[in-house]
């Protein structure tokens, strides 16, 4: 039962205790753009795309991790937020080698869709052009670090839902890389079950199905999986 009321974009919104601003907004049809968030996984608050303004707080807060509070006044869209979101996505596009034209996810990519949604038609920052590798040692899947935005959805889905914890992050800052096990080739991983949830969860073309012309993503409903797990049923 909804137990608190807050205002989002001038609308009175009811929310359950413990719900995040993002959940409260979405349940009332208010769209907030997200990137690292995936329903069913523990929110990370890493990409900062879902930031919103809360009255009385000096800085925007990520809506995916901030709990709704009684009487909160939230703005999800303003010039300041739009500018910040655009800059964040531009920064991500400049960070690795996102060459959309030669990507398996071209046209189905969440990063690309978000860039289009935010009206980004060019990147003002210098392209970093790091030398990043592609791991195709796995029998069925591949990992292209050129397209990774370090959202850690793969890490979380592998740990929290599959329970394998094959993926994690190695290195730090600009040198951060998603690694399997102890930075071994994915194909040699002793923990990977080959379930493919990471590929499903990946928002870009970083994790892909080998041999497939277009990797189909989003076919697993993670929320359902989580619900089933909680009920202890298959």
């Amino acid at each position: 039962m909804p137990r608190l009321t807050l205002t989002i974009d001038g609308r009175a919104v009811r929310a359950g205790r413990g719900q995040t601003i993002l959940q409260a907004a979405r349940s009332h049809g208010i769209a907030i753009p997200t990137l690292c968030n995936l329903e069913g996984l523990t929110p990370l608050g890493g990409c900062r795309v879902c930031i919103v303004e809360v009255e009385g707080r000096p800085r925007p807060v990520p809506s995916c991790t901030t709990r709704a509070e009684q009487g909160m006044v939230v703005t999800t869209d303003s010039e300041r937020l739009a500018a910040a979101r655009r800059m964040i996505v531009e920064l991500l596009l400049a960070e690795r080698n996102h060459t959309c034209a030669v990507c398996v996810m071209n046209g189905n990519c969440e990063l690309q869709t978000l860039a289009t949604y935010l009206g980004i038609d060019h990147v003002r920052y210098g392209f970093i052009s790091p030398l990043a590798s592609v791991d195709i040692s796995h029998e069925r899947f591949g990992m292209d670090h050129n397209r990774c935005i370090l959202c850690r959805r793969c890490v979380r889905v592998c740990n929290e839902i599959e329970g394998a914890h094959t993926w994690d992050v190695g290195g730090r800052g600009a040198a951060s890389r998603i690694i399997s096990d102890l930075a071994e080739p994915w194909g040699e991983s002793a923990t990977c079950t080959g379930c493919g949830k990471c590929v499903q969860a990946c928002p870009t073309g970083a994790l892909f199905e080998k041999g497939a012309v277009a990797t189909r993503k989003g076919t697993i409903c993670l929320e359902r999986l989580v619900e089933w797990r909680k009920r202890g049923e298959p």
């Binding site: 990370l44 608050g45 890493g46 990409c47 900062r48 795309v49 930031i51 800085r59 925007p60 990520p62 991790t65 300041r80 910040a84 800059m87 964040i88 920064l91 991500l92 400049a94 960070e95 003002r124 920052y125 210098g126 970093i128 935005i149 370090l150 850690r152 994690d168 992050v169 290195g171 730090r172 800052g173 600009a174 040198a175 951060s176």
Partner: protein, 548 residues
């Protein structure tokens, strides 16, 4: 050991010290060791060890840049300090002193400002006691405040005393310490933790290392009082891996204190128990951020998580946790011993007590000094012997998370609010003085590269933002930038401040914003004229080198 035995042991230690008559101490802090203090101590021990004088290693005396340092104390006489000791000079100085001549080789003037003008509260015993001896700490009153607290005060009274003192966190943010303690004390749950954040990582900051190396018992005593006040039975000191000597001395101090019944089960025969363990960091600046630090202690990847919940509610292993900085714990024992009114009388209103600074850069004497909060910045520079190599241009406070204070604001009182008003922060106490030969875009570039290197990579604005800002500064220093780059630079800095996940990312743009605020014309000169006004470009190691 019961408290009566402790008092007895303290008395004996004091008497032994007094009986020694003349006490010769050689600083055994890492800067002095690097300068050759071990050989000095060895030689002195060989020469005078058997005599009626007391030769010992001690902690930091302040002017680290003039090490190895030596001091001679004799009851009723002013302390004589000696600088840049060699084994031969040290023996000559001590010999002369014993012959009635205190002006042996290397003698520092009695009013040497770096030492004479300090107000030492936290560092009171640094330089006077042997950091590797519990007896020596007891002789100067170590652990008496803990005894006082657990015998005469309830935990609530300790919290109230700390609150009343107005003590604020010395790690940089200045959060009221008493409020933090009270929050943890009131938190639900039986198992609680106390942590000491000793992951001192700012460029130019070495105050915490100084205290840990010089007077580890002071830190442990402060933690023990805190643990008593909040109801914790386990404590951790998280020391950065680059401080092996500090960690070794802390471990030794813990072992000695446990043996004496000052730590461990049923401290001083009472119902209070506390185990303190040392945890070593693996070289990540971000682990100074409290949530990242706790992740590291728990064996996880050292990266921050979003607050709230704060450690006071949900800390180590989900338990309520008190986390304070080294210097904050260092304030506790004298505060309890002398009372909150005494503590409050030092410093300025709203900024009680003292602050330890490590001053370096273009000053005559590099070292560690402690002054009352609210002391003008100018006094600190004067105490360090003034600016060398040119005239004063700016002082960077708060390290890579802080900003610079230009010459026009030299008389600013050093307190939390005044520094914030100037776009800088108090920070943990690192202070880098720069002369007019320094190029400010180059300084900003240095700090930004540091932050880029130390970003954990979890949030996009910090990870990708520091990379872009570094590149822009590289272009500016290299004379390849245009004025639009300056706008881009500012815009990115504001984004990082607004949208980063933790303090590292939020504060990373401060050195850029600070230098832009006070020295914008230098940026413009690099861009418009491809010229470096400070002529740093002529130095071969500079990025501006080779500008037309």
């Amino acid at each position: 050991m019961r408290s009566a035995e402790l008092l007895d042991r303290m008395k004996k230690a004091r008497e032994m010290l007094a009986a020694a008559g003349t006490r010769v101490s050689v600083c055994m802090g890492s800067p002095c060791i690097a300068a050759g203090a071990e050989a000095v101590l060895r030689e002195l021990r060989a020469m005078y060890g058997g005599q009626a004088i007391h030769v010992t290693g001690s902690g930091c005396m302040g002017p680290c840049g003039r090490g190895p340092l030596l001091r001679i104390d004799r009851n009723g006489e002013p302390t004589a300090f000696y600088e840049k000791m060699t084994p031969a000079d040290a023996c000559a100085a001590v010999g002369a002193y014993l012959d009635g001549n205190a002006n042996g080789p290397g003698r520092l003037a009695p009013d040497f400002p770096f030492i004479a003008r300090q107000t030492r509260v936290v560092l009171a015993n640094c330089g006077t006691c042997d950091p590797e001896s519990l007896e020596s700490a007891l002789a100067v009153g170590g652990w008496s405040a803990l005894a006082q607290a657990i015998v005469h005060l309830t935990p609530e009274e300790v919290c109230a005393e700390v609150s009343a003192s107005g003590l604020r966190g010395r790690g940089g943010a200045g959060f009221p310490t008493g409020l933090k303690w009270t929050t943890v004390a009131k938190a639900q749950g039986t198992q609680k933790y106390v942590i000491c954040n000793a992951d001192e990582g700012d460029p130019g900051a070495f105050m915490d290392r100084t205290l840990m190396e010089s007077d580890p018992h002071r830190l442990l005593e402060g933690m023990a009082i805190a643990a008593y006040a909040v109801g914790a039975e386990v404590g951790f000191v998280y020391v950065r891996g680059e401080y092996p000597l500090a960690a070794a001395r802390l471990r030794r101090a813990i072992a000695e204190a446990e043996q004496a019944g000052l730590l461990g089960r049923r401290i001083l025969g009472r119902g209070f128990s506390l185990t303190i363990r040392v945890r070593i960091g693996a070289g990540a600046f971000v682990c100074g951020e409290e949530t990242a630090l706790m992740a590291s202690i728990m064996g996880r990847r050292g990266q921050p998580v979003i607050r709230p919940p704060y450690p006071a509610q949900h800390g180590l292993w989900g338990r309520s946790t008190l986390i304070n900085n080294v210097e904050t714990y260092g304030c506790i024992a004298p505060l309890i011993r002398n009372g909150s009114a005494w503590f409050k009388a030092i410093g300025s209103p709203g900024n009680s007590g003292t602050k330890v600074f490590s001053i370096s850069g273009d000053v005559d004497t590099v070292g560690v000094l402690e002054v009352a909060l609210g002391t003008p910045l100018r006094h600190l520079v004067e105490m360090a012997g003034g600016v060398t190599g040119g005239t004063f241009k700016a002082a960077q406070t708060g390290g890579a998370s802080g900003g610079c204070i230009p010459e026009g604001h030299l008389d600013t009182p050093v307190d939390y609010e005044s520094l914030t008003a100037l776009g800088s922060i108090m920070g943990s106490g690192g202070m880098i003085v720069m002369n007019d030969q320094r190029c400010m875009p180059d300084v900003a570039r240095f700090f930004m590269n540091f932050c880029q290197d130390e970003s954990c990579g979890k949030c996009a604005p910090c990870r990708a933002g520091t990379q872009q800002v570094s590149r822009l500064l590289e272009r500016i220093c290299g004379g390849d930038a245009d004025l639009a780059d300056l706008d881009r630079l500012e815009e990115l800095c504001l984004l990082m401040r607004d949208a980063s996940l933790c303090g590292l990312g939020m504060a990373a743009p401060n050195p850029v914003l600070g230098t832009l605020r006070w020295f914008r014309e230098e940026y413009e000169a690099h861009i418009r004229g491809g010229r470096c006004p400070s002529n740093v470009c002529e130095r071969e190691d500079s990025p501006c080198h080779g500008l037309p």
